[in-house]
Point group: C2
Chain length 390, copies 2
């Protein structure tokens, strides 16, 4: 599992002292090659954290030797000094790699990712020595520890893998009680593979996968400044992956990690699968699904196990999507509670006791569909996000 | 105060038995003339309740003799039968007025407004006799009772008035723990005046007033299917109002009622005034303010009295408004916690103990500004909206 499931990668997770709790807070993932091809997807937020600005720039080359990740501080809204901190962190990793391998490494091949409170500088006096400690702890079995070191409010660490009969593997780790864009809390994901692919092939597979997985999780409608998803290929298996099969493996790993994020969303007691069907096009299906997912009244109703389909219709009615209000159908957990914009089957038939709640909205306006995942809104969510400064 | 503050109006509020609690649930407001000029503004939701569809149609004539309002049921998503119920209610009011005045009244001059649970037919066997009871209870002192009869989760009834030295008055009542568009719960507002104005003049004053008052309250981002704001003029003062002065009086009454809605929002402990300044244009100022107002993480932070300006920046960053992320300033309760997109004054200086919290976001992109009001997100909000089916 995790980022060391694929051959050609070492990883470590250590406690650098960034978190006041003393817990694991620094992860390092190194691609030992022979290939260093890489791709990345970042937050769509226009207010981007320094490590995002740094890593986007680095990824322009389509090549990464390593990624260093820290929890305990987002390094966002920290201005030019914050960007210098991200640069210095990459520099330190490059120096350690150069010393360990005898081969020259530069900061320009090192990605940086951070998560935690916005608006605080990172404690570089702890972080830089931590990079050295992590470098000396690198191991082919370090994937789990790396996954543990990127947790913030996550109650469990998240890892996944998919292997091909052709002889290659995709592995990954994720943190976050949310999603890529928009993101509840920061979502950080590192995927690795020992398949042999070009940076362009990795980019196509990654964008295709995130578009229908992480991008369709909308736990609380809030987009992070730090969301980062990286995919690195070592080619250590010696196998050229077939693009379609590889894309499907990446999608499967992203979907698996995405589901783990939903299950672990802050304060949530329900995972809500919203499927919009018969939309005029996919964009409108996504828009309608996202609008339902972001409706606080609907999210509260689901928390109360109340099949309040009126709130679903009221949410749909705020969109510009093509539909006739008198043709809308809504089913909750398979019961068609709203038919043709009005009362359908008896709402008392809806059983909402279980964690997964399925909502289907039929727009009767075309043949496109999309699935958006969200969570209920709970008193625990409020508590966690008002008591904890994140 | 209320709708009978202006001359030429009678009102009543009675218990028709629509609410299971047996509380007041039916209000009637009658314009006794001599003028019957009127204007209305309705929800922007495309899923509109039957009474909204009915009243929009009726207002096409710019003329209203009365409005009948009920709590205890929204008559939304009830299909053609629901529309027939709204029509039948207006018919009943017209018959009562005809009987009481000896002058022929038709359903086409009666507006209908409803609030309560979506997706349920109204109990017409209780509502229609209730209309007769209300008609017989009409009084020039009935404004308070009418305001009480339209409450749902409101903890207090809301009324306001403004009078001109010229000799005319604007009075009004409101219900709702939210706003016009978008609307938390349904917002119903009836404004009356004894000034003499045409339907076109009333319409201009009402649209101008709602645009910068009710339309800029965004307690929870959820838009109702039933929001209705009506303005009726009796001309009973015999005074032709000067348009600018009248528009300002209507704006003042709307602003007063709007503030009362914010103060009484479901579960709220904070009223948050978000002022966006130096935007490229007013629309962008409103968009940025609304986006901050709808950010659940920010709303939770305010609940926890945490001056978490990073969440304000993260929210602004999701908009398309003109700004440079490195030029954003944010002040909370007068303390400039974020300067030029990075750390400003010490956040510990921010005192957030009081109910009103002021956030100022300076986009440095122009000279337009706007104020949006919202509330914090609380466990009580979650409880009220998950336990109570509304």
């Amino acid at each position: 599992m995790s980022v060391t499931a694929a051959k050609g990668f070492t990883a470590a997770g250590i406690a650098a002292g960034i978190k006041e709790s003393g817990g694991l807070d620094l992860a390092l993932v190194v691609n030992t090659g022979p290939s260093r091809a890489a791709a990345g997807v970042f937050t769509a937020n226009r207010v981007k954290a320094a490590p995002v600005l740094w890593s986007e720039q680095v990824l322009g080359e389509g090549r990464l030797s390593a990624v260093v990740l820290n929890s305990g501080g987002a390094n966002a809204c920290t201005g030019a000094p914050g960007f210098q901190d991200a640069h210095a962190t990459a520099e330190q990793v490059a120096e350690e790699l150069t010393a360990a391998t005898g081969t020259e490494h530069g900061a320009g091949e090192i990605a940086v990712a951070s998560t935690g409170l916005i608006g605080l500088r990172l404690p570089m006096d702890k972080l830089l020595p931590g990079v050295s400690t992590a470098a000396s702890a690198l191991s082919e079995h370090g994937g789990e520890k790396a996954a543990l070191a990127i947790k913030t409010t996550d109650t469990v660490h998240k890892t996944a893998r998919a292997s091909s009969p052709a002889g290659w593997t995709v592995g990954g780790m994720a943190k976050g009680a949310g999603m890529l864009a928009p993101g509840l809390a920061t979502m950080l994901v590192v995927l690795t593979t020992d398949a042999d692919l070009s940076a362009e092939e990795l980019d196509a597979a990654l964008r295709g996968a995130t578009r229908t997985t992480f991008d369709r999780i909308d736990s609380d409608g809030a987009m992070s400044t730090n969301d980062t998803v990286l995919l690195m290929a070592s080619a250590a298996s010696g196998v050229r992956a077939e693009q379609a099969e590889f894309a499907e493996a990446v999608r499967a790993v992203c979907d698996d990690l995405g589901q783990q994020l939903v299950h672990d969303a802050e304060g949530a007691t329900k995972d809500i699968r919203i499927e919009v069907v018969n939309a005029a096009n996919e964009d409108e299906a996504v828009t309608v699904g996202r609008t339902i997912a972001r409706n606080n009244l609907f999210k509260c109703a689901v928390h109360g196990e109340d099949p309040n389909w009126g709130r679903v219709l009221a949410a749909i009615g705020t969109t510009d999507a093509a539909f006739d209000p008198d043709a809308l159908d809504v089913a909750i957990n398979g019961v068609q509670v709203c038919r043709a914009g009005a009362v359908g089957e008896d709402r008392d038939k809806v059983d909402m006791r279980f964690r997964e709640v399925r909502v289907t909205a039929d727009l009767h306006a075309g043949s496109a569909s999309a699935v958006i995942w969200t969570n209920d809104l709970t008193a625990d969510y409020v508590h966690e996000n008002s008591a904890y400064s994140s």
